[in-house]
Symmetry: C2
Subunit: 216 residues, 2 copies
């Protein structure tokens, strides 16, 4: 209720903030928090270090800002799992979205990986209060689908975790993957097809079993 608190973000402000976040994402995702330096970020953003600190009060503030934005982006695909849809299609669509994110936003994935690797010192609350509830909701949905026989039975939590493991691996371990599978162009296509196959084989429900044919 202050009387017109202040003039809001000017054009130059938004531009520079965006530049800084872009540069910081580049540096943090590759070097981790402590490995990154303000000079590196300022350099990548094309401005001086004091100027950078004019827009963000500290190195940590930049990092936190990135992680906050990341969390929303990261949760979105999972949120789109539609309870009214065809179970297997919904899940395969989710896998496709996650693979797409690994391909298009590998830096975000590595930023996240770095944070978790270090014990999520800054993201722990987010994980507990935003990710966990959503995770539980979707686990319940998966369990319902399984109980209805529309998905093969499995531990829903483990299913989601393995989807994350499979999809994010291609971004986080990109260096290793590139060494082992040097195929540039076809690599992502092969990866996506493979992960989709894995999840399909895992979750495709057994046919309604018309007679006694399963045993031998």
């Amino acid at each position: 209720m202050e009387a017109t608190p202040a003039k809001k973000t000017s054009r130059i402000q938004t531009r520079n903030r965006r530049r800084i976040l872009e540069a910081a994402l580049e540096v943090f995702s590759q070097q981790g928090f402590r490995g990154a330096t303000l000079d590196q970020i300022a350099d990548a953003a094309g401005m001086s270090k004091p100027n950078l600190l004019y827009y963000y009060e500290s190195k940590e503030a930049i990092h936190v800002q990135l992680l906050n934005a990341l969390m929303e982006k990261w949760l979105a695909p999972l949120d789109h799992l539609d309870p009214a849809g065809e179970p297997l299609d919904e899940i395969l669509g989710y896998v496709r979205r996650k693979m797409e994110m690994s391909r298009r936003f590998p830096r975000e994935s590595r930023l996240f990986a770095n944070e978790i690797l270090q014990g999520a010192p800054r993201m722990h609350p987010h994980l507990q209060h935003r990710l966990k509830p959503l995770f539980d909701t979707k686990c319940a949905l998966l369990r319902r689908w399984m109980d209805e026989g529309r998905l093969a039975k499995a531990d829903p939590a483990q299913v989601l975790i393995s989807i994350w493991a499979l999809t994010q691996h291609y971004a986080d371990f990109d260096t290793q993957v590139r060494i082992l599978v040097p195929d540039e162009s076809a690599g992502w296509r092969a990866a996506q097809d493979h992960v989709l196959t894995v999840v399909r084989k895992l979750l495709t429900p057994a046919p309604p079993a018309p007679a006694a044919s399963t045993l031998r």
Copy 2:
């Protein structure tokens, strides 16, 4: 051919070197290379920083030593894939060994993850000259098994990569997993069973198809 080059490692030397590596593993795996400090490592090893540098000439030397030892440990399970064994059993055994390693040596896994995340600046040669050939050999083995109809057809490289993704995830993203699946004791059992199921479903070959029953 020097005349009696030097007295070899004394008892106190081996003890202190071991302490240092143990401490460094703890710190590096959690903080990454640049995030770790010599003071932290020295502290964790229970000795002074100069004393630490008496045993290893630099921070990088410690890191390299750890990575070298790690590579051997990491390759061993894959090397044990027996071409003469029953394909599915061999692979499931390999998965079991990898899960066991994630459970017993999460710090090693995270050390590796950190290194790869940062583009493998120190491990790149190792990956290319030790991991890659072994990887290719085992891919060929998998392909042979698939051609013989003893494993379901799939891209062998992607199969190995996804096994790594699934198993290492439980060590590298332990923080996240613990938040989502707080179950302490049963957690690892559930995880192992799940991963084994995923791989089994992926690679179990279709039955010999006695007649025309697959199509409805």
